[in-house]
Symmetry: C2
Subunit: 217 residues, 2 copies
């Protein structure tokens, strides 16, 4: 059954692979499933046709036959359950990998989104500099805890899993602000994720979309 996902026609991240379609592309590349991409303008994302698929007007969505899904975490979990390669067979290990998926998109990403919201919407406000230390403090608390748990392990719990895919994807958002390199263990963990052939193919896929929409003169 053909798989179609949606992505930004012009990603605000300028092809750096931070938009959430990247996570779904990566999951599909890891399990070796081909997929089509339907590109959406910011206007199209707010129209009824897309809102029927994604009630919050975001990307990505996932269509496969009669199934339509939204939320990158749920899409990745669906892919991981349907195709081999992203979840262990052992039921307990499988449940633990899913726990890391939830930890990535709620506990960890929440602190990172707080920084991004401040950087995008409040950078010129008089309180920006005063709030920043507390925002960074919350991020560093989480990174310290996660770094201690990961230790010197290659991946979170044995083989690479959907939990690592989500956590690497979330942590990547901290590379731009330079925060990630303060944690050599985590920087190396993220680099291991980026070095995977599936990640590379997914990254090139989203970059090609950005370049097509923004040709160099």
């Amino acid at each position: 059954m053909a798989i179609t996902i949606t992505a930004f026609e012009r990603s605000p991240d300028r092809g750096r692979g931070l938009a959430r379609d990247m996570r779904v592309r990566w999951a599909l590349e890891e399990v070796g499933q081909p997929y089509d991409v339907r590109l959406l303008s910011f206007e199209a994302m707010k129209q009824m046709q897309h809102l029927a698929l994604q009630p919050f007007g975001q990307i990505p969505t996932y269509e496969e036959g009669k199934l339509a899904l939204f939320e990158s975490g749920a899409i990745i979990l669906h892919i991981a359950e349907r195709y081999a390669g992203l979840l262990p067979d052992d039921p307990d290990a499988r449940a633990r990998a899913i726990a890391w998926m939830f930890a990535a998109v709620s506990t960890m990403e929440q602190t990172i989104v707080e920084l991004e919201v401040a950087n995008i919407l409040e950078r010129n406000e008089p309180w920006y500099d005063k709030r920043l230390p507390a925002i960074l403090g919350r991020i560093h608390t989480r990174l310290g805890q996660f770094s201690r748990r990961l230790g010197d392990a290659e991946w979170l719990d044995g083989e690479f899993s959907a939990g690592d895919l989500e956590m690497v994807s979330v942590l990547l958002r901290l590379r731009g602000p330079g925060i990630l390199k303060e944690y050599p263990t985590l920087d190396a963990y993220v680099a291991r994720g980026e070095a995977r052939p599936g990640y590379r193919r997914a990254f090139e896929g989203q970059l090609a979309v950005f370049k097509a929409a923004n040709p160099t003169p």
Copy 2:
């Protein structure tokens, strides 16, 4: 196999059922599984013994034989997969219910946590009043979108599911600030959740813990 969860010895929500053990209690009550609760002080939550179970030093955790899990979303999904009553049998409907679980704890809860962080940590800051409209604006955007999707339906997708359990639990956090009653559809949806016998039993369970730790003189 006996199930043990962890919860606050003295919940900062003063027994209002907003701590995240409530969601796990509710899920266990819905599927009719008994469970033990191990109560933790704030000090114990930061100690190695607990951090081995929960790397971010939070509650709840879930132990069942050799399996140890954290993240309420992942715990609820595990319960829903293991016992009947929280996920539909149809695979597509099941994937959609899981999408609502992720939407609740990331897309929706993120905007609510932003308000809670501001209320707890920045209420006395000179910028609090100036930031508040933007924070509330982001919450209202999400509530409007969600309210339009829910419409007059009893639950999100047919029968009550783990997706409703998570979404009701997240929206309940807006009752205190008075925001929920601006959306009669959502207020009624949350009230339907609270009226379920499983919710009531779970609520009484967590309230009993709070009362035991805070006896009225």
